[in-house]
């Protein structure tokens, strides 16, 4: 589904990713962990198509197509979804209007007719329940006045609405208390399936207790330095990132 080969990328002339290799198959859940500044958010930004990042080397293919050549909207239309670490507030833009536009543009891309208003509202209700988002979104601007937890739940709600094939969760656990974390994780787990893959980017192991990954990768200095199963996350939790740093330094010397 997603194939990242020797990806080098940076921002403002500074290289942050130093050759990432990663293969993700349909239905898999990959966790990417790493200390601050290791390049986790750069990776998600580059995959979603944020224009201020430059790719200097390497390839990324998504369902056999060159992802890096696509606009952010075409990546979304191809089935990619990024749940933002800091979802922004957009005053004046109604969540419902925005989602209706998004869904219908996704459908148009797949040559499907626009969704009926009735079906759309039914879908909204159903997916809101998934993340226990009780706010009446019809009159609310995107994330305006939302708490941190509501913003993250809104991201998962949008994910559920748009039904991506690959979802990247960028530090979705940051700033969440344990109850909100459980709700978000529960929402994500309900969306897991044979055709849908996830990349969970996180600093802490805590989220992975609730969303159990198939693979765990450790990112350090812009490279994946260690990969393993879910037990790797526990090992990291126990030993801390210094363990990785020392290993790397030892190898480098």
């Amino acid at each position: 589904m997603l194939s990242i080969k020797n990806l080098h990328a940076g921002i403002a002339g500074k290289e942050i990713l130093n050759g990432i290799n990663l293969e993700i198959k349909a239905g898999e859940v990959h966790a990417i962990m790493g200390p601050n500044g290791s390049g986790k958010s750069t990776l998600s930004s580059v995959l979603a198509g944020r224009s201020d990042y430059n790719v200097t080397e390497g390839d990324v293919t998504f369902n056999g197509k060159n992802l890096l050549e696509m606009s952010p909207e075409d990546r979304a239309r191809e089935g990619l979804f990024l749940a933002f670490q800091y979802p922004i507030e957009i005053p004046g833009v109604s969540t419902i209007n925005f989602l209706k536009t998004a869904i219908n543009e996704l459908r148009a891309y797949k040559k499907l007719p626009p969704m009926e208003a009735k079906d759309f509202l039914k879908l909204v209700k159903e997916k809101q329940a998934l993340v226990e988002l009780t706010t009446n979104l019809a009159n609310r601007a995107i994330n305006e006045g939302f708490s941190g937890g509501e913003k993250k739940r809104n991201e998962v709600f949008q994910m559920a609405m748009l039904e991506p094939t690959l979802a990247i969760l960028d530090e979705t656990d940051s700033g969440l208390d344990i109850d909100a974390l459980k709700i978000v994780a529960n929402g994500v787990n309900k969306l897991r399936g044979k055709e849908r893959s996830f990349v969970i980017i996180t600093h802490y192991q805590r989220l992975l207790e609730y969303i159990v990954p198939d693979f765990v990768h450790v990112l350090f200095n812009g490279k994946i330095v260690k990969s393993g199963g879910k037990e790797l996350a526990l090992e990291l939790e126990a030993k801390g990132y210094d363990w990785i740093k020392q290993q790397e330094l030892a190898m480098g010397s």
């Binding site: 979603a48 952010p72 601007a141």
Partner: protein, 438 residues
């Protein structure tokens, strides 16, 4: 060179006045006084601080016909300028002349007068003479003086005390000039007198119809808002491609009164809106809102003045501009707080988005505060579309255009939401949405 042009255009209009004054009814002394003031001030050019960014003298380079010419119009022609689903009294002016044929008044209560200005000039009732030229200042503004000298038609509305006019009055200014007629100068005049405890809603739109030559419309409006009265005044500049418009509105507020106004400009070649609120008694509220969306080489200039003369009043201003291509926008907002006007709350905000490198916006807040116990603030921002918001929307599958439209519509929506007449608000939402898509 500019001096020569200024003198000649001004002198041309003065001599036009001398030729035509015999046909102008009533107020001969006032007209003479006004034309002297006009000649003294002259048509302003860029050297005049108030007209620094809007060179009015450039509009008057060619000869203009000053007497409104009549032309035939069909009922359907008016229909396209109506606000859908709005129950309103319709008043139609054709090149500044009141058209009985196309106007239709609705449920006008007893004592309320909605008439042509020429009739009001003739009858010169007490309600008329007590207010005419009392607020618009012929000694400081050339165009007010010019309009006053020539004033022959327009609309007069008088609402007696304790009267609520249920349906809004929609004044449609239709302007049309054919190529063989040369340039046309239209000068409608408006006087709205709203009595104590009375309420009135006015919509004024400027529209061009099959116009193929240059037209300048120099309109002057005076509004007297009585004690405890509530007045809403909406100015809509949409179907007016090709127009050069100088529109001067002066509202005078008495005790406990509310005056709400919203100026929406979506089309028009060259527009100058002067809006002055004279807050002349205690406990008044004034809300001034404006939105302009420009493109091509459009030029839209909004000058506001809120003159707080008495204590315990509140004024709020929100003006927003979206400027594309090579268009120019100006917002100049003056607030005076006179020495007596303690406990004044006066706020002003001007926000603008530039969509092109060639678009220009000039904003200038001017606060002059002589009282010491007041709350006043002003803010002005100019920027591009929020990149983060654009990326967020696009990452959900919205095209760049859709994302841009949603954000611009939200930006403009702040102003449109303040419109209190629902069908008008819905209509403007649609117009703005359509306009942003193009």
């Amino acid at each position: 060179m500019t001096t020569v042009e200024k003198i000649s255009a001004t002198e041309n209009l003065v001599s036009e006045f001398q030729k035509t004054k015999a046909s102008l009814k009533g107020f001969a002394v006032l007209r003479e006084k006004a034309i002297i003031e006009f000649e003294r001030i002259g048509i302003p050019n860029r050297k005049n601080e108030e007209w620094k960014y809007s060179d009015a003298s450039a509009l008057f380079k060619e000869e203009l016909q000053v007497l409104g010419s009549k032309f035939q119009m069909k009922k359907e022609d008016v229909a396209k300028f109506l606000v859908p689903d709005l129950n309103a009294s319709i008043v139609v002016l054709v090149n500044g002349i009141y058209s009985e044929e196309h106007s239709s008044l609705k449920n006008i209560s007893k004592g309320v007068i909605v008439s042509s200005f020429s009739k009001a000039l003739n009858e010169n009732t007490k309600a008329f003479s007590e207010h005419f030229t009392k607020y618009a200042d012929i000694t400081s503004d050339a165009f007010t003086a010019l309009n006053t000298a020539f004033a022959s038609d327009g609309v007069f509305i008088s609402v007696p005390d304790n009267t609520v006019v249920e349906f809004p009055v929609h004044i449609i200014n239709i302007i049309s000039a054919k190529g063989d007629q040369g340039g046309l100068l239209v000068q409608p005049r408006f006087l709205f007198v709203i009595g104590g405890n009375a309420e009135l809603k006015i919509i004024e739109s400027f529209d061009t119809l099959n116009s193929s030559t240059k037209t300048i419309c120099n309109s002057v409006t005076e509004i007297s808002v009585g004690e405890n009265a509530k007045v809403q005044y909406y100015k809509l500049q949409n179907d007016c491609a090709g127009i050069h418009l100088i529109s001067t509105v002066t509202a005078h507020q008495q005790k406990n009164s509310h005056f709400d106004t919203n100026t929406v400009t979506l089309n028009g070649d060259w527009i100058r809106n002067n809006l002055s609120i004279l807050v002349d008694a205690e406990h008044c509220e004034s809300h001034l809102n404006g939105l302009f969306i420009t493109r091509g080489t459009q030029h839209v200039d909004n000058h506001t003045l809120v003159d707080h003369r008495k204590p315990n009043c509140q004024s709020n201003q929100l003006y927003k501009g979206i400027l594309d291509e090579k268009s120019t926008g100006i917002f100049n907002g003056k607030i005076f707080v006179k020495r007596d006007a303690q406990k004044t709350n006066a706020y002003q905000s001007s926000k603008n988005i530039l969509l092109s490198d060639d678009a220009t916006i000039n904003t200038k807040p001017q606060l002059e505060i002589y009282a010491d116990d007041v709350k006043c603030s002003h803010g002005s921002t100019t920027g591009q579309l929020n990149e983060e918001a654009m990326f967020y929307l696009r990452s959900r599958g919205l095209s760049e255009d859709s994302a841009k439209n949603l954000l611009l519509f939200a930006f403009a929506g702040d102003v449109i939401q303040k419109i209190q007449i629902e069908p008008l608000r819905i209509y403007l939402e649609e117009l703005v949405n359509e306009r942003l898509k193009k």
